[in-house]
């Protein structure tokens, strides 16, 4: 027990000190501004990708998802600071009914240390007509350390009932459960759906864009609308554990000092005893 306190105090103290160190690392920010267009049974997507960070991105791999199909593009070796690269993809989607659709663009990349990251962007695409869905959503999410909840409050502003498919498009660094939910909203009805967001390998201190995509049908037309929010990932320095660490440090520091004083006092007693013994021995010898 004594050993634990003895070794624990400096360890905790170091943790406390480390936890308040400012973050000085660089960052990569890939801004993807996609444009999607229906052409026959395809969706043609083009997107300039700009690195607005202060560190280059490597092995940038873009994939495009829509209506159950995915197309992966060849990796871009490197996007430098303030550099822009444009990607173009063709997604075969088959003979869809007219209306509005959402295309998900996933961008995976690594930093100079080989650490993987990913982002997601949603692009609207209209086939012949742009349908304004009467179903809207408001997203609420708390900061994420290990796990949090994403609340999606959906409202049917229209008068008619609507069958809804609600799915979450999130970067691969975050794990969403369940990935999609289907339900029916009567005219004017509101429904709150909760998704669990787990931290896969998201970088602390950053924030990730997450989209809730609402698909429904309006008479013979398809309607799809995406609503976005940011999920902030707690940095260790701002984590909920910090106060606990500080508390532990404050408690264990005096304890450590006490132990140290006790040890020193014992040593001094032992030293005094040894001295006395030596003095006694000399006296006896004399």
């Amino acid at each position: 027990m004594r050993i634990k306190v003895w070794t624990g105090s400096p360890t905790v103290l170091c943790l406390v000190l480390l936890s308040v160190q400012p973050c000085v690392a660089g960052y990569i920010r890939l801004d993807v501004k996609p444009n999607a267009q229906f052409i026959e049974q395809f969706i043609a997507i083009s997107a300039p990708i700009t690195n607005n960070g202060d560190e280059p991105a490597y092995q940038v791999q873009v994939s495009v998802e829509g209506e159950g199909r995915t197309v992966s593009l060849p990796a871009i070796e490197h996007i430098g600071i303030n550099e822009q690269k444009t990607i173009a993809a063709t997604l075969p989607v088959g003979p869809l009914t007219s209306g509005s659709y959402s295309v998900i663009i996933r961008t995976r990349y690594i930093d100079s240390n080989g650490y993987p990251f990913s982002t997601v962007t949603v692009a609207p695409a209209s086939k012949w007509t742009n349908v304004i869905s009467p179903v809207v959503a408001v997203l609420e999410v708390r900061e994420l350390l290990l796990s949090t909840h994403l609340l999606v409050r959906t409202t049917n502003m229209g008068r008619r009932a609507s069958d809804i498919r609600l799915r979450i498009a999130a970067p691969e660094d975050l794990i969403i459960d369940p990935p999609e939910v289907r339900f029916r909203l009567q005219g004017g009805q509101e429904e709150q759906v909760s998704f669990v967001v787990r931290n896969g390998f998201a970088l602390p201190g950053s924030s990730y864009a997450v989209y809730a995509i609402l698909d429904s049908r309006m008479q013979n037309l398809h309607a799809s609308t995406a609503f976005a929010t940011q999920v902030p990932i707690l940095a260790r320095g701002t984590s909920g554990f910090t106060p606990l660490l500080i508390l532990a440090g404050l408690v264990s520091l005096p304890m450590g000092i006490l132990v140290l004083i006790r040890l020193l006092s014992r040593m001094s007693v032992r030293f005094k005893t040894t001295q006395q013994r030596n003095v006694g021995a000399r006296r006896r010898l004399a």
Binding site: I39, E40, Q41, A44, W128, V136, R159, R160, G188, N220
Partner: protein
């Protein structure tokens, strides 16, 4: 029955009643959608709501359409009846063309076959999108079955039947398929197969599929010829989609439609009659006519803003967009009127003067207006409408609820940007320094500042931060004693007098100081992001809109000279069709059997294609009633029926026309603009 039997029966009965009561209490009894809808206004209506071409429009059918609508109103019922009418007309048209529900191609695919896609249009599309239209083509035989065993049997048939024998109806035909035409799961299976192989049963979309891959054609070997059939189908489907509303409304106008008088339903026939009588009108919105001249002005202004040629011919798409803007303007003015919002002439005059001061002379100013396809009157009207729209939107925006938690969250995120030194100032503007000095002298002698500001655009005190004011004005106002007037201070548009009403230092500000401002920001965001579109949509839905583009194609226009047709000497009916046969309503001997005084002419091949091009028809067939001057007085899209021919004929005969109405409607009768 014994006593024991009676007791058991009684107990069972009580249990059933208790169960039903319990289920009702829990709200899980199986009430039909119809019964919910019947709770609303629908219950007050008769069981039979009307007739369309001999089909009864039953209340239950309308109730089914209303399923999920809480407490349906009469507007909801009208919309639902309109949907039932549309469905019936589409089913009727498709049935004429040989569609049988539950078998063969989908109804919309059958109806889309009426649309025209010319070879040159297909080629132009191919040339435009060649880069996108690429991928491998595969030659396959395929079949889908309900059970795995059935699919295995088909597989055996594929193994034992030669491809050449597959014309037998029992074996699926050989077909070429391009990218995207197969289910994604089947495509994955196909990617791993070699020509000649037959897949195992693949379960996808609830069915077991078997594919026999016969050949592959790599992308480098594909050409327009491979893509032509599906591109033609796609272009036809698009054209049908765009012309569907017009097809429906005109067919409705000529249909035998009777609706119960309790339901004041919009009547396409009545709208059509208005356009027949007033060729200069392009739309009627809640009884107000929009003329061709107004539409042309709107298009001209839109073109001048985008630097497009003012003399180029106007395409229907361009006209539709411009018309929808005018219609929205009419609806906004109505909303403004409801809210009692006005734009005073003095406000417009001041804005006009500000604009005018930027030009050396009246001539230069008028030349600028002319270059932008507008005039002083147009500017005056447009500015009034613009301000009216802004004020009306602001009024609705201000009503949007904002949750306190959102205000708190916004404050937390943007506190640093919001908290800044600021002054609440009432600002009065003058053109010259002398005028400002005179006004200041009057203020010092007791005249209130508000008496100068009330005729100005900013007639109330507002908060200003340093970046919102010229530096000189800020420096003069910041140290001033509250409720005193400082100035004149030079400004970009003249001279200002400033009355300082309040002062707040950044460090003293809290959320309460900014709550109203944050609420305004959040309301504006909500409005711009979604509420504005919804507000406009609901205005459009509630309005009575008769749009000429949805109700006419060639009405009131001169018929073009067409080979094989005699037009302009006598009243005549003409049918333009690329095909002949009962599926387009042109059965053999139809002309012989026609016994009305007005002649019937059917354009037959080889002139038909040229006639369709000359008339610029989006779909075929079309039937036109043309008077003795060669003017189109009636038109009918799709498979022609005897009833439609007789109705068109009646427009050319001395008998009174189908609908008698010379008064513009003043009640809400809706033909939706799409």
């Amino acid at each position: 029955m014994t006593r024991r039997g009676l007791v058991i029966t009684g107990l069972l009965g009580a249990a059933v009643v208790a169960g039903v009561l319990l289920l009702q209490w829990r709200g899980v009894t199986g009430r039909s959608a119809e019964s919910y809808a019947a709770d609303g206004v629908l219950r007050t209506l008769p069981l039979n709501l009307g007739w369309l071409n001999g089909y009864a429009i039953h209340r239950n059918e309308v109730a089914h359409e209303l399923a999920g609508t809480p407490d349906p109103t009469m507007d909801d019922v009208r919309e639902a009846i309109q949907r039932v009418i549309d469905e019936t007309l589409l089913a009727d048209g498709a049935a004429n063309m040989g569609h049988r529900p539950g078998s063969g191609p989908m109804r919309e695919d059958i109806l889309a076959r009426q649309a025209v896609a010319w070879p040159e249009e297909i080629e132009a599309f191919w040339n435009r999108h060649k880069q996108t239209l690429e991928g491998e083509f595969v030659r396959v035989r395929r079949a889908a079955r309900q059970s795995e065993q059935e699919a295995r049997d088909v597989r055996k048939t594929f193994l034992t039947t030669a491809v050449v024998a597959s014309e037998n109806t029992a074996v699926p035909a050989v077909e070429w398929l391009g990218p995207g035409q197969l289910d994604a799961a089947l495509e994955r299976v196909l990617n791993g197969m070699k020509p000649g192989e037959i897949s195992q049963p693949v379960l996808t979309a609830g069915e077991y599929h078997v594919i026999h891959l016969l050949d592959r054609k790599p992308p480098s070997q594909t050409a327009l010829a491979d893509w032509r059939p599906r591109l033609a189908e796609y272009l036809r489907a698009e054209r049908w989609h765009r012309g569907r509303m017009r097809w429906l409304r005109i067919r409705e106008a000529y249909a035998a439609l009777e609706i119960a008088p309790e339901v004041i339903l919009p009547k396409a026939a009545l709208g059509l009659e208005q356009f027949r009588r007033r060729p200069d009108v392009v739309a009627i919105v809640n009884g107000k006519a929009i003329t061709e001249e107004q539409l042309a002005t709107q298009v001209g202004q839109a073109r001048s803003m985008t630097r497009k040629s003012l003399v180029a011919p106007m395409a229907e798409g361009e006209l539709r967009i411009a018309l929808s803007r005018i219609i929205q303007g009419v609806l906004v003015r109505e909303e403004a009127q409801k809210l009692g919002i006005e734009v005073p002439d003095s406000e417009l005059e001041q804005r006009f003067q500000v604009l005018r001061t930027g030009f050396p002379s009246d001539e230069a100013f008028d030349a600028m207006l002319h270059a932008n396809a507008t005039s002083r009157d147009d500017w005056w009207r447009n500015m009034r409408e613009g301000l009216l729209l802004l004020k009306t939107e602001s009024a609705y925006m201000g009503r949007l609820p904002v949750e306190p938690s959102l205000i708190d969250a916004y404050w937390k995120e943007n506190q640093a940007a919001l908290v800044r030194d600021r002054l609440k100032i009432l600002r009065v503007q003058f053109r010259t320094e002398q005028e400002a000095h005179q006004a200041l002298a009057q203020i010092h002698s007791g005249r209130p500042v508000e008496s100068f500001s009330k005729e100005q655009p900013n007639d109330a005190a507002q908060w200003f931060t340093h970046d919102m004011l010229p530096h000189q004005a800020w420096v003069a106002a910041w140290p001033a004693t509250l409720q005193t007037v400082v100035g004149p201070v030079p400004s970009p548009d003249g001279y200002w007098l400033l009355r300082v009403d309040d002062r707040q230092e950044a460090k003293a500000q809290t959320l309460s100081h900014h709550r109203e401002h944050i609420m305004g920001i959040l309301q504006r965001t909500q409005w711009v992001q979604r509420e504005r579109a919804r507000w406009m949509l609901s205005n459009l839905e509630a309005a009575t809109i008769w749009n000429r583009f949805d109700l006419t194609l060639k009405l009131n226009q001169k018929a073009p000279p067409t080979p094989g047709l005699q037009i302009g000497k006598h009243p005549t009916l003409i049918v333009i069709t690329l095909e002949q046969g009962c599926h387009v309503g042109v059965c053999d001997g139809i002309e012989r059997e026609w016994n009305r005084p007005v002649s019937l002419q059917i354009v037959s091949r080889p002139d038909a294609e040229q006639a369709v091009r000359l008339w610029s028809l989006p779909t075929v067939p079309w039937t036109f009633a043309i008077d003795e001057h060669g003017i189109v007085v009636g038109e009918y899209p799709g498979p022609v029926t005897k009833t439609a021919l007789e109705r068109l004929s009646s427009l050319l005969e001395p008998e009174p026309p189908l609908v008698q109405s010379t008064v513009l409607p003043d009640r809400r009768e809706t033909v939706h603009a799409h």
